[in-house]
């Protein structure tokens, strides 16, 4: 049993750690804002600053770590991606190293030029339009696309949590077969900005205290005609897109939880070592020590689970159960860590403008989808039954 991270990945991890420490962490004030009333809080970095960072990342050979080499990326495998994501999650600055949704990896040659490459180079933004307003759960999809004279007509509304930008296109999921459910009748369309009948509401840049939370954009399709060549993948096969890459993303998101939890632990440790009560540093108090111990143990367990599953993914072994376990445990873990950090900070860390506040807010947001966690439990249980032999 070898728990050592391969040397080349250690180097990669160290390079990203330096990048985060030297380039991203100093920018946290820009995102969190300096004004007492948080009026200058921003959701994202200013575009010029971001372009500068993108240039740096490209020079360091870190741009497109999750993108396959044939699409112009520098694929580093699942374990490499986990190590990188863990480091990137340790800052509140939202910067990703050329991350593109694997749904777009299935673009054909022409679509790669028009859609994938501009997204990869941050010249265009892809608005992922899956969820629909007014539904009880995310999985309920009813938007229809009607086939007329060789093209499709979309009608309905979608919500998108993607990042808004000047130039964009929508990746829309709509039902093409009457009477078919989402799994067998769903087709994916690429709808350009400015297409007739396609409009976006609430896509403006938000600043101030509202920028602490992501708000969905509303995409409206009113008799929007889409050419058949703008179909992504095959008709009715939308949920088969990116199948080769999507499952391992679940592990990488687990690594994000670990990164966030690690930063919370680091901040909590500094707090414990610097604050005193009754003449003693609070790090000597049993309740604070208990909280630190519990947090560190949970992070360690999640990290081991993630590395092992990522290692299996890189070896081509089945990871469905492992990835579901990672998501289940890591999501609960980061919530637990944020909760326990309150023991050290003597209160929930909700003082606006502090990194801790943003981290705890993110941690709670990660764990707020109980529905998704129940699905993970189902996946794990199904896999256990599958393996049961009489």
């Amino acid at each position: 049993m070898d728990f050592d991270i391969p040397e080349e990945l250690k180097m990669l991890q160290s390079m990203v750690r330096d990048f985060v420490t030297e380039q991203l962490k100093p920018l946290e004030r820009i995102v969190l804002g300096r004004a007492a009333d948080l009026s200058d809080t921003q959701m994202y970095l200013p575009l010029e600053k971001e372009q500068e960072l993108i240039g740096m990342a490209k020079e360091m050979g870190l741009w497109g770590v999750n993108v396959p080499e044939e699409l112009g990326g520098v694929s580093v495998g699942t374990l490499g991606n986990c190590l990188i994501e863990e480091e990137l999650a340790q800052t509140v600055v939202p910067f990703k190293l050329g991350d593109v949704t694997p749904i777009l990896f299935d673009c054909n040659e022409k679509q790669r030029e028009i859609y994938f490459s501009p997204v990869f180079n941050r010249e265009k933004y892809a608005y992922l339009a899956l969820m629909e307003p007014g539904r009880e759960n995310f999985g309920e999809l009813e938007m229809q696309a009607e086939k007329r004279n060789g093209s499709y007509v979309l009608n309905g509304k979608k919500l998108s949590l993607s990042r808004a930008g000047e130039d964009y296109f929508a990746v829309v999921f709509a039902l093409t077969g009457p009477g078919k459910g989402p799994r067998e009748g769903m087709t994916c369309f690429l709808v350009d900005k400015g297409a007739s009948g396609f409009s976006v509401n609430d896509g403006e840049t938000i600043t101030g205290w509202e920028a602490r939370e992501r708000r969905p954009m509303s995409l409206v399709f009113d008799q929007c005609q889409v050419a058949a060549e703008n179909l992504l993948g095959e008709e009715g096969m939308a949920f088969h897109l990116g199948r080769k890459w999507l499952p391992s993303r679940r592990i990488v998101r687990g690594a994000r939880c670990v990164g966030t939890a690690q930063r919370i632990l680091d901040e909590a440790t500094i707090e414990a070592q610097t604050w005193t009560s009754f003449g003693q540093f609070i790090s000597g108090r049993p309740s604070v020590q208990a909280a630190l111990g519990d947090i560190a143990t949970n992070i360690h367990a999640a990290r081991l689970m993630i590395y092992e599953t990522a290692w299996k993914a890189d070896r081509g072994e089945p990871i469905q159960r492992g990835a579901a376990m990672v998501k289940l445990f890591a999501t609960q873990m980061v919530h637990y860590v944020a909760d326990n950090a309150a023991h050290i900070f003597s209160a929930p860390s909700y003082i606006g403008g502090l990194p801790m506040e943003r981290f705890c807010r993110n941690a709670l947001a990660m764990s707020s989808t109980e529905f998704a966690l129940q699905l993970q439990r189902n996946i794990i249980a199904r896999d256990i039954v599958k393996g049961l032999k009489v």
């Binding site: 899956l130 999985g139 998108s160 993607s162 998101r253």
Partner: protein, 149 residues
């Protein structure tokens, strides 16, 4: 009081297999093939119900059904928790896992033993086949992609 002798499966093996081969929850029919209430029951009633084979509405079969676990919305069709309710809401979608038979307190132990010893291998291989066939895409992966970008 001596325990009532339970049904000898050899006598009913053929009909029992027919029942178990039908894609519909078999619990009610297995209950009718059983010997019914034992005279030594612990219910506080004067009436002699020894040998009665009615469903007692405990709901164990409804709770044990894996199909209803996957599609809980079907439970909302009725508040009843009887074997008849189970047959009505599951019907031909039954997985034929026989979990309802094993969960029912009114089904004879001899029948349950038969199911475990003679039918489970077949059931498990059929369930495994079903799971193996399920090449269904994981919709949650797409939801995650849309929510966490």
């Amino acid at each position: 009081m001596p325990l009532r002798e339970q049904r000898d499966v050899k006598e009913i093996e053929s009909i029992l297999n027919q029942v178990l081969n039908v894609a519909s929850p078999p619990v009610a029919r297995c209950r009718l093939l059983s010997t019914g209430f034992n005279p030594g029951h612990a219910l506080n009633i004067a009436e002699d119900i020894g040998g009665h084979k009615e469903c007692i509405g405990c709901g164990n079969c409804v709770d044990a059904c894996p199909f209803l676990f996957r599609e809980p919305s079907r439970r909302e069709k009725t508040e009843q928790r009887t074997s008849m309710a189970l047959e009505s809401i599951v019907g031909a979608d039954c997985d034929q896992c026989d979990a309802c038979v094993l969960a029912c307190p009114q089904v004879d132990t001899t029948i349950k033993n038969y199911v475990v010893q003679h039918r489970m291998i077949e059931v498990m291989s059929r369930l495994e086949q079903r799971i193996g066939d399920e090449d269904e895409p994981d919709l949650d992966l797409f939801i995650e992609e849309a929510v966490v970008q």
